[in-house]
Amino acid sequence: MADQFPEFDVLIAGGGNAALCAALNAADSGCSVIVVESAPEWCRGGNSRHTRNLRHMSAAYPEDEFFADLHRVTGGRTHEHLARMTIRASANCLPWMLSHGVRFQKSLAGTLHLDRTNAFFLGGGKALMNSYYQAAARRKIRVLYDAEVVDLEIETGRFRSARVRMDGRDLEIRAKALVAAAGGFESNLEWLEEIWGPPARNFLIRGTPYNKGRVLKLLLERGAVPEGDPAQCHAVAIDARAPKFDGGIVSRLDSVPLGIVVNRHGERFYDEGEDLWPKRYAIWGRLLAEQPEQIGFSIIDSKALGCFMPSVFPAVRGDSIGELAAKLELPVDAVCSTVDRFNAAVAPGEFNHGVLDGCRTHGLPPEKTHWARRIDQPPFLGYPLRPGITFTYLGVKTGPGAAVAMQGGDVPSNIFAAGEIMAGNILGKGYLAGFGMTIGTVFGRIAGREAARAARQ
């Protein structure tokens, strides 16, 4: 295939938040930039398209508190130097974003707990990505859609060109520097199954179908140093009726702490009221993944209605627990006896779903330690739940300048990485709401700037 393109200064693999931040910053430093996005135009923007906010340091949310939060969720699996650098850099993300067309809104209804720490994008992540793509067009950045990076030519640690598959044909695109911002491998079903075995087939993918980890794999094969746990992913409990891919935010279900969750056998398996839901919803993905057929059922009664965000899929309803169990295709007797035992164990208390209240069970394995109320007021409602994968942790190792560390690499590199593909350097475990976009924005900008510098040398 003949070379259709001139050599660019910077080639960006990916088309999400990190990719566009890098592209804009490289273009702002005077470089010619090409963005290669594997999704078609309507679906551009990767998982960033599904986001709603970004966490940022401010007078109201100082560095040490931010870092303490990060340290807590990662259980210390973070590089403090990189993490603190990211946190400090997050303080000036907002002005930069505003100057590139992004607009913000008040924190969304039902998210007051994030008001102090997170900035919400007006219209959500797709609107943010639209702003960036429009800013890119104004800067004459070339954007290829439906264009997948399928190979990277890397010689002695230096990037030369990328092979891009478009319309069934392969193009060779040369550039002086590469920014890899192509996300994780969460939508690569084969890869997921390699790690988690057959249960992975029952996982739902919350975001884009295009994050197949191809660029990540290519980099690792070409000698990039891996970073982040290859066997971990962030997964939450979502409605089992959500589409296999791309169901996004609306498939989440917040009813878990207000009732009980049973598995296929009609048995409870974990404390539904362990902590406030925003702090706990991320462990439920893994919990469900460990259950038979990777499915669970949240059961509440009519008292719980109105206490959680409305769900997209209607609840399955029954006038008795037995009827509900039958409709959910669960063993009726088992569910009834689980609910009976639960109801019998509920101790009296003052219910308040906004705080850690004192409502708990006594003598029930496993206990429910907060928000335990008898499930006794029909109609009874049930929602099927499955693990929904948000992102994977495996990435490439980078330093503070976003350069990708190569095995035994003493060659000054022209390969940079930003976003989820390197988030494991900072977020080795767990998750902090809004931090994915922080990492992408901070490292995207750094990678763009450094790639521009490398291209000029």
Binding site: G123, I249, V250, G306, M309
Partner: protein
């Protein structure tokens, strides 16, 4: 409800249920906060939400679930369709709601036949003895009688429509604070500003063009109306008779309004032609073009009349202008004009809900 309209409400309910679980568009307009105050979406709720929507299309371009995503979320189109359904639904007399079905054609036929008749009739009339003496052509009492009757009918039809809307959306009594809040929203076209950046109209780029042309149209219309009212006061209270001098209040107001009412509709027409077909209801183009055209023709004939009022063309021009004005007024309750009425009523309802919500 005709069966094809049922589908609109089923779809509206589906959309609002998904949006209510997402809420990303909360900051764009009044529709989303109003949606969040509800858990069920009956036709009455959807009609109210539809009239709160000004079709800025922000929530279409921002939606991660817009087609071809399998959720196929397209709020602006569905609400546009429901909006027209609601105009017909609230119309008085009910049978006249049918006017919304082929509105463009209806108004086109009415307007052209009225103008043709007026032209033919007007050309028979000799110029009056006194130059620019309109009442030499049509006596003042006749003009007032004719337009007074039309105005009374229009006012009644619109009032009944609004009352139906208000009852259906279970509105309570109207308070002063509510009125003030809604009036501010209406007069400033607050939502068409979208926080300073303007609408994503006619395409995905933000632009204030629509708001500006709408302002020209709205205030042009208001100035023309003011001009006529001032003239009526001059005539009946002070006994000052037309024609008024070029620098008199009625003429200055009328001329300024007329120019606004030419530039505004022309701009809106130009935007409409370029409007992204995905974010509107393609079947409503006739409705929109008809109203834009009728305003334009009324204003154009009015301005021509002003310029040529001393010439031999005056009788014909006057007849044509009055015919256009008559058709415009008569069709006000059965054309695009009502969007302003129901939208204002919806904003009032919104103000009421917000206040109620706060105190609860």
């Amino acid at each position: 409800m005709p069966p094809d309209n049922k589908g609109l409400f089923v779809e509206g309910d589906r959309l609002m249920t998904i949006c209510n679980a997402c809420r990303y568009c909360e900051g764009y307009c009044a529709v989303f906060p109003a949606m969040e105050r509800r858990t069920a979406f009956e036709p009455a709720d959807l009609r109210y939400l539809a009239n709160l929507c000004h079709n800025c299309a922000e929530c279409y371009y921002a939606c991660q679930y817009a087609p071809p995503h399998e959720f196929a979320i397209n709020v602006p189109r569905n609400l546009a369709e429901i909006r027209v359904e609601s105009y017909a639904h609230y119309a008085w007399p009910r049978a006249f709601g049918a006017a919304y079905r082929a509105n463009g054609m209806l108004i086109f036929v009415l307007l052209t036949s009225a103008i043709a008749a007026a032209l033919i009739g007007g050309m028979q009339i000799a110029p009056p003895a006194r130059a620019a003496d309109f009442y030499g052509i049509i006596p003042h009492e006749k003009m007032v009688g004719l337009f007074g009757a039309i105005a009374a009918f229009v006012a009644i039809a619109l009032a009944i429509g609004v009352r139906r809307f208000w009852r259906e959306s279970s509105g309570g009594p109207v308070g002063l604070a509510m009125l003030r809040s809604a009036a501010g929203d209406v007069l400033k076209l607050r939502y068409l500003g979208s926080g300073g950046a303007g609408c994503t109209y006619p395409d995905e780029h933000h632009s204030l063009a629509r708001r500006r042309f709408h302002h020209l149209t709205f205030y042009g219309f208001a100035l023309c109306f003011a001009s006529t009212s001032v003239a009526a006061v001059y005539h009946s209270i002070f006994g000052w008779h037309a024609p008024y001098g070029y620098f008199s209040l009625p003429v200055v107001l009328g001329a300024a309004g007329g120019i606004g009412l030419l530039a505004g509709p022309a701009g809106l027409f130009w935007l409409k032609v370029r409007h992204d077909p995905r974010t509107g209801d393609p079947r409503q183009k006739g409705l929109d073009y008809a109203f834009i055209s009728i305003l334009f023709v009324t204003s154009l004939t009015g301005l021509l009349l002003l310029i040529l009022r001393g010439s031999e063309w005056m009788p014909a021009l006057l007849s044509v202008h009055l015919a256009a004005v008559a058709v415009m007024f008569l069709t006000l309750p059965y054309g695009k004009f009502v969007h302003g009425i129901y939208r204002s009523a919806a904003l009032l309802r919104d103000a009421a809900e917000r206040m109620q919500y706060k105190t609860n």
